[in-house]
């Protein structure tokens, strides 16, 4: 069983004419990792994956697979297998022929191919379905066949381009678990592309968040969620409440910013910006809906907010309460459903509080569009 091979992108630029699709990407992926590229549509995720698999050469910079420079090495010579965004199964070949296509290319006999295909079909829980055509399978089954076809060549790295995007929610969640299980069994490096942050956070060891060709942050899913390093990451990954203001005071890794409507607020400076901010700078502060809670006392401190309720929505496991915030934006608070009938009535003035450790402040930057 292979243990996976490391992949490094060193200062990679990819241009289509004048258009820069990927700008200065520096990524180190450990062997055996589940690594995700997360970003909105058109940010260059597929482009990066095509460069890793060898379908296009970077305009500048190097791509190393297992320490070896891949410049000039074609997709067929790289130890990678790519699963396409639309799967690209061969519709006129039977399922087992699809799976064993890489062996057919290598000249294996039909009996050998069939045997290996049946083993892989077993692994993806589709035993006995080898003689069907891809069109006779369900979406999730096709998905698994595409994975089996990629694994058949025993690649060191599996590249997956949004393979679950075509599936419905239930199946997508099921396939997430299954992908993780398959990865555990084969132990190779997975590079996964998605614009679904839930997918990236649940499955990956490491996530790279991209915005129009630029990688904003590379970190564990946990850190990406708790300590976003740019406003884009903070607003793209999960839900977040934004407060804008000027920095009033800095002490160590904490800062106070003064906002127009919510007063002075205390928060941690995002790790990459500690020591780089100064008093008087414009800044953005983010607090997650679930980090806000109802406060018993009247809001006075630097970790409390007082605002009027606009409305409330029942979500099942929680209530979402929307309050008046700055600049027409609403503040969202999420309150766990513990059997309450109701949290607050529209128009009521609420006092909220949060822990400074759960709020993060950073320089002003671009936000993810909603």
């Amino acid at each position: 069983m292979s243990s996976g091979v490391a992949i490094d992108l060193e200062n990679v630029w990819i241009k289509f004419g004048d258009f820069v699709a990927v700008r200065e990407a520096n990524v180190n992926i450990n062997g055996g990792d589940f690594f995700s590229f997360l970003g909105p549509s058109g940010c260059g995720k597929t482009t990066i994956l095509r460069a890793i698999s060898g379908f296009l050469e970077p305009s500048d910079g190097r791509i190393l697979i297992g320490g070896a420079d891949m410049a000039g090495i074609g997709p067929n010579k790289r130890p990678t297998a790519l699963i396409f965004q639309n799967l690209a199964l061969f519709p006129l070949m039977k399922v087992w022929e699809n799976i064993a296509f890489s062996m057919e290319v290598a000249g294996a006999s039909a009996a050998e191919r069939r045997k290996r295909a049946d083993e892989l079909l077993d692994m993806i829980a589709l035993d006995g379905q080898g003689d069907k055509l891809p069109s006779e399978l369900s979406g999730g089954q096709k998905q698994r066949v595409a994975i089996a076809r990629a694994l058949c060549a025993n690649p060191d790295v599996l590249l997956l381009d949004e393979p679950l995007s075509a599936l419905d929610l239930k199946l997508r969640q099921h396939m997430r678990t299954e992908l993780r299980e398959i990865r555990r069994r084969v132990g190779i490096t997975f590079i996964y592309i998605t614009h679904d942050q839930g997918e990236a956070l649940t499955m990956s060891d490491t996530v790279a968040v991209m915005k129009s060709g630029v990688i904003d942050q590379i970190d564990t899913g946990h850190n990406i969620y708790d300590h976003p390093s740019t406003p884009f990451v903070a607003s793209f990954v999960g839900e977040n409440n934004l407060f804008r203001g000027k920095i009033k005071q800095i002490s160590g890794n904490e800062a106070v910013i003064s906002t127009r409507r919510s007063g002075d607020l205390l928060a941690q400076i995002t790790p990459s910006q500690v020591g780089k901010l100064s008093v008087g700078n414009e800044a953005m502060l983010f607090i997650r809906p679930e980090a806000l809670e109802l406060s018993d006392s009247k809001a006075t401190g630097k970790t409390s907010i007082s605002a009027n309720v606009v409305n409330q929505e029942f979500e099942g496991n929680s209530f979402s309460v929307f309050l008046e915030g700055d600049g027409g934006k609403q503040i969202k608070m999420s309150v766990p459903n513990l059997g309450q009938d109701n949290i607050a009535a529209a128009g009521e003035n609420l006092s909220l509080r949060y822990d400074a450790a759960n709020a993060v402040v950073m320089p002003v930057g671009e936000l993810a569009s909603e």
């Binding site: 790519l82 965004q85 061969f90 290319v105 290598a106």
Partner: protein, 309 residues
């Protein structure tokens, strides 16, 4: 059951009046322009060529003599075969097949190139450039080719200028001009169906195969050609049928000693004024080409339904 659904759907979409009108037109077209003329030809082919006075008279009975003429000639004892006409028939069929195969090999790379370099302006320009010569009348095109292939034509002049040949080559007598003309006459009917199917092939399938190490040859053999098969089949059917039934190109570009079977048909109709005999020859040609097309389609496992796509 399914048919009924299609019809009711059709009427719902077009309204009863418009729907009936459209159906009526299609029916008229089928019956009066396709079925009836062919049926009357079939009827002709089984009758004697009688002077008008005797038509409908006691002598006007069905006969196989017109078909016997093709096989045995005027020898009523059936001792010798009509080798001249039969050879023309066989040569026509084989030459039409050769033209078809040649067109397949010529068009496939072109169709692949056009189909896979999706919609770029250059490709659209190329397609237009391919179509423009076909605005010119078929007969005019054939004569133009005759000039090019003539003794002092462009091709011979060029060859002699390059010292590739000292004497002009007689392209006409060698039938090279004929094959070139036939190939050229219907090449777009091969190119466009192929281009259409290849354009609909998902590029990712080719890249997936490449990712798995497949050579170009294997990619074409296992992925592109199977996908393009219906297009190749419909192109090949049209080119074969039309080449075998062509008249203008053989008349204008054929050598003096080589006849095309359609020219025999034409002679019976036009020179001998024996429509019954001409009809029998034409029916033989039609039936043979249909049988050949169906046999080849079966051999290559192509369904009739796929061709219509």
């Amino acid at each position: 059951m399914k048919k009924k659904m299609i019809f009711s759907e059709f009427f719902k979409n077009n309204g009863v009046v418009m729907g009936s009108l459209l159906m009526g037109l299609v029916g008229f077209w089928l019956v009066f322009l396709i079925v009836l003329p062919q049926l009357s030809m079939l009827d002709y082919s089984f009758r004697f060529n009688l002077p008008p006075a005797e038509q409908g008279g006691p002598k006007d009975v069905y006969t196989l003599s017109n078909y016997q003429q093709l096989i045995y000639g005027s020898d009523t004892t059936r001792q010798t075969y009509n080798t001249v006409d039969l050879m023309v028939f066989v040569r026509t069929i084989i030459a039409a097949m050769a033209v078809t195969i040649f067109n397949i090999f010529l068009c496939y790379p072109l169709a692949y190139f056009l189909g896979q370099s999706k919609g770029s302006g250059f490709v659209r320009l190329l397609v237009v450039l391919l179509i423009i010569p076909y605005w010119i009348n078929e007969i005019l095109r054939a004569f133009a080719l005759r000039i090019i292939f003539g003794d002092s034509g462009l091709l011979n002049e060029a060859l002699m200028l390059l010292h590739l040949t000292r004497e002009p080559i007689d392209f006409i007598r060698q039938d090279i001009a004929l094959y070139a003309g036939l190939g050229y006459a219907y090449i777009l009917l091969m190119l466009f169906p192929m281009y259409n199917v290849i354009e609909s092939l998902d590029r990712n399938q080719i890249e997936a195969a490449r990712d798995m190490g497949a050579s170009w040859l294997r990619i074409h053999r296992r992925i592109v050609i199977p996908h393009a098969k219906p297009g190749i089949a419909s192109g090949a059917t049209m080119v074969f049928m039309l080449s075998a039934g062509a008249l203008a190109a053989p008349q204008i570009l054929g050598g003096p000693s080589s006849l095309w079977f359609t020219q025999l048909v034409y002679q019976w109709f036009n020179d001998s004024l024996n429509w019954q005999q001409g009809a029998a020859y034409a029916i033989v040609l039609l039936a043979s080409t249909i049988i050949i097309v169906l046999t080849v389609m079966k051999a290559f496992k192509v369904n009739m339904g796929d061709i219509g796509k």
